[in-house]
Amino acid sequence: MFRIARVLVPLTTIGAVAVMIMLLSPHGASGDVRSASSDEYVFGRDAAIDQPVHGNVQVYFGNVIVQSVIEGDLLVYGGDVTLREPGRVTGRLIHGGGTVTGADGRVGRVYSMSSLEGATATLTTTAVVLSLLFVWLVTAVIVTMWNGREIRYSSIEIRSSALHCFALGLVALTSFLLTAVVFSYLIGIVIGIPLLAALGVFAILTKVYGMIAVFHAVGTLVAGPRTREQLAARKWLRGDIAMVVVGVLILGAIRMIPVIGPIVWGGASVFGVGVALATKFGRREPWFLAWRPAEV
């Protein structure tokens, strides 16, 4: 039993990574163009709009060339969009994970699913990242002031049980994604929207709390006092808030590095979500109560 438990966490990590990759790139799940009333759906292959469409068009994991008029919205995920004369989109063009060519003057409005992709200038992107870093710093200080013990406990958990936190974070994020997909089936019967909103709020709170615990862990690892003499000699660099501030500044500086920064920040988010759930937001309470029959 103990041996099984030892290999369970690494196996779970590998499994969660595999499922996450499959979810984000389901190229094997190709399908035909599917129509519902006047809407069109394309999965896993390229599409060409040669005839006018009176409805929305959605293309997943394929490129699309628009050479006619779409009287509705165009949503493209995981592919490039090319608009050619006389191609038009009267509604919105929403895209993610690809490029858009020839949209000038032919589309109502263009939106990117990737939040920072809209800010093309590198300088502007840096400014946005720095602004968000400031928001993180203020949030982290406020949360640590009120819940220092919980944050510290979660920080210790990251350092003492890192692999478990990472595995739990990966599985939790995959679960959030799959649950969101399942909830999206319910959008048609109204209840789907509040369920998705509740899931989104929970996911955001989990990430925010977890990231603050990660900041504390990073700060303690880098700048935490090792001995009582060191602690006594320090004037500012001690205490939970100081460790959190140091962690924010270190991870924020890493976040500025192109390519590596987002990867490191993403990894920290996985750890954060994992530790927030592993410690139940630092409360050390079980998520599920064990059932035992009453003793007679």
Partner: protein
């Protein structure tokens, strides 16, 4: 501490008969803590606990760090020639767009190929089962 007690503490086996004549040593031997109450505790020799000085609030560091980040952000905004509100409005989607995207994605999922929908259902059950099992594990970290 009496010299007999000291000798007993240093070599309990050679002085095994000492607790018969000393009530104090007999008591501590009985509870299995022969030397605990009488050995002086040197706090400096103990490992540093995570909670020590944890409540300390270094305001200069907090304000300095926050102002430094804010000043750099303001300088970069000025260099980019844009106000923070302009950039944030461009970067963050409005509520209407989020709702539209969610609605479109929901419709897309409903019209996905049957194979993909079955794979999603199986993945949903498997992932949430593993999620449940991982959540059952008790945390390891200690903070007394």
């Amino acid at each position: 501490m009496k010299s007999e007690c000291q000798r007993y503490l240093e070599d309990p086996e050679a002085n095994a008969s000492h607790p018969d004549t000393c009530v104090e040593c007999a008591f501590f031997a009985e509870i299995g803590a022969d030397d605990a109450p009488r050995r002086p505790i040197v706090i400096e020799s103990l490992p540093l606990a995570p909670w020590e000085e944890a409540k300390h609030r270094p305001w200069p560091l907090i304000l300095g760090g926050a102002l430094a980040v804010l000043a750099i952000a303001a300088a970069v905004f000025a260099a980019a020639g844009a106000t923070p509100m302009q950039v944030l409005r461009r970067v963050f989607p409005n509520f209407d767009l989020i709702l539209s995207t969610v609605r479109l994605l929901g419709e897309g999922v409903e019209h996905a190929p049957a194979g993909l929908q079955i794979a999603l259902a199986i993945s949903f059950v498997l992932v949430n089962t593993v999620f449940y099992l991982l959540l059952r594990r008790a945390p390891k970290g200690i903070d007394v």
